[in-house]
């Protein structure tokens, strides 16, 4: 079995994995980071979005071995201790989540949006979120939360 090493949420990890192991499986099964969710099998839903070397990535589209040497941040690594990241805080304040299942991917995706575009329009936010499906909120409050996070300078 090949082994893979990477930095996840600031901690260096090294594990043996099957070649076919996806990054999602690696995070969930090997590291018990179950905040990264699996909502589909066609890389459509975005529940598994994490950051790899600072970029948002659907973790189901990568093999674990492809993340060799990478810096990975999952939803568990976003808050600083008890202090939520401003994007998490905005989702909480504006009711940007209901069942919570799409939420980790949605938040990680939104954080990357503001890294790339600190002041997006509503249209730009909606187009950016095209790869993240939410069945509960109708996106209204998610968009609202991201707009408020942008105003608060969350990038």
């Amino acid at each position: 079995m090949p082994s893979v090493s990477m930095t996840v949420n600031g901690r260096t990890v090294s594990k043996e994995v099957e070649g076919r192991t996806l990054l999602t499986q690696f995070l969930r099964e090997k590291l018990n980071l179950t905040g990264t969710h699996v909502g589909c099998d066609t890389s459509q839903c975005g529940a598994c979005v994490v950051h790899v070397n600072g970029q948002s990535v659907k973790a189901c589209t990568m093999l674990a071995v492809q993340a060799e040497g990478a810096e990975v941040t999952t939803i568990e690594g976003l808050a600083k201790g008890d202090a939520l990241h401003p994007m998490q805080e905005a989702f909480r304040e504006h009711h940007g989540l209901q069942c919570g299942f799409c939420t980790p991917g949605m938040v990680m995706s939104a954080v990357d949006l503001l890294q790339k575009n600190a002041n997006p329009s509503e249209t730009e936010i909606r187009e950016w979120l095209e790869g993240n499906i939410c069945r509960c909120t109708g996106y209204h409050n998610i968009v609202n939360a991201i707009q408020h996070a942008a105003k608060a300078g969350a990038a």
Partner: protein
């Protein structure tokens, strides 16, 4: 001190764990020694299973067991039941063919459950499943409800593939009304099949403890007690006292997680068989194939009117697709949750509805957000719109002319419901003002200048939810009562655990219920924990569906709080040396009337558990359980108005404005209620514009079996919504509340189709209004113009 939080937009207490990746869903759980289950599913829509060879699978690395239906039969594993017996028009019970968790000799839809493979890892189980050799003798299949009665037979005990032929209302009386009509509007329509798609796929973990001969099942259930009841009483025979069902965090349900499914049943049975925990998580492809689907009606309707446009009578003829087997509550959806809503907000004096429920080679169909009420609302609000166009009347005016008036409540409809209260014109007027209806012609003209077709569409909906009085549903064939339970358990230090039967999977109960308890008992919210989803902790309960959590579950909590206060008064009277009748409870304090002698709730709780100075005839402890059986449904109602712009060159429909004015009675948390409305509208817009569960009519294959093929609403498909409220408090529950969870999905489809057909200048089109369909209609309209 109380928070005074009822009515305030309190942010949700559950959010922190979800936002930090600390939610705990079934697939996040692991048990020592667990095996992974993978199901072998039918690739055919209809076939006899002639042989199953498991040798190669058993020899595959890591595979521990392979089971088929033949293995379950000797253990007495029963059929997955239907819990509601509909009596047909001849007085006969509906046909309920056997539905075994693993098939016995015949498959009836693509995705049907043929065998299960248990292995050390999910990958090994999947590899093993590929090696199970199944020989099929293919049979002709039918997936279309309209053809079901002449199609090849699915079940020997359901002739003509007919589940029931049911009628509500008196045909002769309605014919008499039609004979006096000035105008009759006729409409044929389809309510398209939907696939629910909660974002968390279903999952189950089952564990048998041989030491106590007991089982634990972790399941993605909306109603763990109902699941336990079904598994115990009808399927496995495991006593309820030996089966604990836990539904932890659940990632959305929308109805699809009400039911007892084959997969969790097999896991529960297999864990004892192999002596190890068994876990299964659906892949999304399996969710598409084997979750219960929704809607799928074909309907002809006729509305009779007099010269003034007053409704004289309504005739409805519907064929409802049940799928291959009857799911747990499938039978009641197109009957008691559909035909009973056909009065809508109107005074239509006579109504008759005939429903034929049929079996087809498709996934079972059951309740999906709204469940019957969206189908009724779509039909009614479409036919009223068509009638307005045929009569050349303003659609708002025609509606107003027929509305039940505020002074007519309680109002008994001709279809078996009694509406307690409402003010439909208030909602309609508010919505028209919000969207500036008077300014619509100018906006339409502006769109025309830009080559766009603008349309506006109303939906004045009502729904019956907060289900339901047990005696009523019992008389209609339900096998269960639809009350709810609550337990309010004080600890000696004054904190409270509130145990509720209402499971939360996105609805925010941990916040809303805590607001209710905080205000009622005068205890700060941070001292209140809401506990749900575990049959091992919570009294027998009925769970979450039909927008019932606050109206029924919240009322049970109120009743338990009432018992706490009554007992607290007795303790306070003793401590304060006063008569119980002289004790008042307010803002968390028990006070002797007219004095400043007072005891706080915390002091009373402490005294109840440390009863050194205590009434001789009173039990220690402050822990009260209550059950609440609603007196009626609640009837949320309102008006949604959609304004759309259609590009005739591309067929693309853009929702340019959406206003929703709903009457949910008293609002506990407006932030959460508005969120429910947004989500409901999005699912309704999905039905109207994007979503359609399609089977190939020849092969019976599901053509929309992934997110590449089934068009889920994405952020860039939707607008922001404008939400307003009117309020008539529910008259029969202690909170004055009505359900809000399903209203958006019920109201929205006709609003958008009314808007698009208005834009195109046509009477009707079928959902979903995809760009291709809209473009073709726009081209036709251009040609005929």
């Amino acid at each position: 001190m109380p928070d005074g939080s009822v009515g305030q937009p309190v942010t949700r207490r559950e959010d922190k764990r979800f936002l930090t990746g600390k939610g705990r869903y079934v697939d996040d759980l692991h048990r020592t020694g667990e095996l992974a289950a993978v199901f072998v599913r039918s690739p055919h829509a209809h076939a006899n299973v002639t042989s199953i060879n498991i040798d190669a699978a058993m020899a595959s690395p890591g595979v521990i067991a392979v089971f088929t239906g033949a293995d379950m039969e000797p253990d007495g594993i029963g059929s997955l039941p239907c819990g509601w017996v509909v009596t047909d028009r001849h007085g006969e019970p509906h046909k309920n063919p056997a539905h075994f968790p693993l098939v016995r000799g015949k498959v009836n839809y693509v995705g049907d459950h043929v065998a299960v493979v248990l292995a050390e890892t999910p990958e090994q189980a999947r590899d093993g499943a590929d090696l199970v050799e199944v020989d099929y003798e293919e049979l002709p299949a039918n997936v279309e409800p309209a053809k079901a009665m002449t199609a090849p037979l699915l079940h020997e005990d359901a002739p003509d593939n007919l589940c029931y032929d049911w009628v509500l209302g008196d045909e002769a009386v309605v014919e008499e009304a039609f004979s006096k009509a000035h105008h009759i509007t006729k409409l044929d329509l389809v309510n398209n099949r939907l696939i629910p798609n909660a974002m968390e796929p279903r999952a189950a973990v089952a564990e048998y403890d041989s030491g106590t001969d007991s089982y634990t099942l972790w399941s993605t259930s909306q109603n763990p007690h109902v699941l336990r009841l079904i598994l115990s009483a009808f399927v496995t025979g495991i006593p309820e006292s030996k089966l604990r069902v836990i539904a932890p965090d659940v990632g959305g349900g929308f109805g699809s997680k009400i039911y007892c499914y084959a997969e969790e049943t097999v896991c529960l049975w297999a864990t004892k068989k192999v002596g190890r925990p068994v876990r299964w998580t659906a892949e999304r492809s399996e969710s598409f194939l084997a979750d219960a689907h929704g809607r799928d009606h074909v309907t002809h309707a006729e509305l009779a009117m007099n010269e003034q446009g007053e409704f004289l009578g309504l005739k409805v003829d519907t064929t409802a697709n049940m799928g291959a087997y009857l799911s747990n509550f499938a039978s009641c959806i197109p009957t008691y949750l559909y035909a009973t809503l056909l009065a809508g907000q109107y005074r239509t004096p006579v109504i008759v509805c005939n429903v034929k429920a049929v079996f087809t080679n498709t996934a079972p169909v059951d309740a999906y957000r709204g469940a019957g009420r969206p189908e009724a609302t779509y039909l009614l609000e479409r036919i009223v719109e068509v009638a307005a166009r045929e009569l050349n009347m303003d659609p708002a005016e025609l509606r107003k002319r027929n509305f039940i008036q505020p002074d007519q409540f309680p109002y008994e409809t001709p279809v078996a419901l009694t509406y307690d209260i409402g003010d439909y014109e208030a909602s309609l007027n508010a919505a028209m003002e919000m969207i500036d209806y008077a300014g619509f012609p100018a906006r339409k003209a502006e769109s025309e200048k830009n080559g766009k077709l603008r349309g506006i569409g109303f939906s004045a909906y009502i729904e019956a939810c907060g289900i339901a009085p047990s005696s009523v549903v019992g008389s209609l064939g339900a096998g269960v009562g639809l009350w709810e339970s609550a337990q309010v358990r004080f600890n000696a230090t004054g904190t409270i655990s509130v145990l509720t039967g209402s499971h939360a999977h996105g609805q925010g109960h941990e916040t809303t219920f805590a607001q209710v308890v905080s205000d009622t008992l005068g205890v700060p919210m941070e001292n209140i924990e809401i506990v749900h989803g575990d049959t091992g902790q919570i009294p027998m309960a009925m769970g979450t569906y039909g927008s019932r959590s606050l109206a029924v579950g919240g009322s049970a909590i109120m009743r338990a709080c009432g018992k706490i206060i009554e007992k607290g008064k007795k303790i306070a009277a003793h401590l304060l040396e006063a008569s119980v009748d002289d004790i008042e409870f307010k803002d968390g304090n028990f006070t002797v009337t007219g004095t400043d002698k007072s005891k706080s709730m915390a002091e009373i709780a402490f005294t109840a558990y440390v009863p050194h100075n205590y009434p001789a005839d009173l039990e220690p402890g402050l822990d009260e359980t209550a059950f609440y059986d609603p007196l009626n449904f609640t009837y949320p109602a309102g008006t949604h108005i959609a304004e759309v712009e259609v590009d005739p060159e591309t067929g693309v429909t853009t929702i340019v404005d959406w206003v929703a004015v709903d009457d949910f009675g008293k609002i506990i948390n407006p932030l959460i209620v508005e969120g429910q409305v947004h989500g409901g509208i999005a699912q309704g817009v999905g039905q109207a514009l994007l979503e359609h569960g399609v089977y190939d009519p020849e092969s019976g294959q599901l053509l929309t079996g992934s997110y590449m093929d089934y068009c889920m609403p994405r952020a860039d498909d939707l607008p922001s919504f404008r939400v307003g409220m009117t309020e008539t408090a529910c008259t029969h529950n202690p909170l004055g509340v009505k359900g809000c969870g399903e209203a958006g999905a019920i109201a929205s489809p006709p609003a958008i189709i009314n808007a698009i057909t208005d834009a195109l200048g046509i009477m009707h089109m079928e959902m979903p209004a995809t760009p291709e369909k809209v473009w073709r209609l726009a081209q036709d309209a251009k040609k005929s113009a």
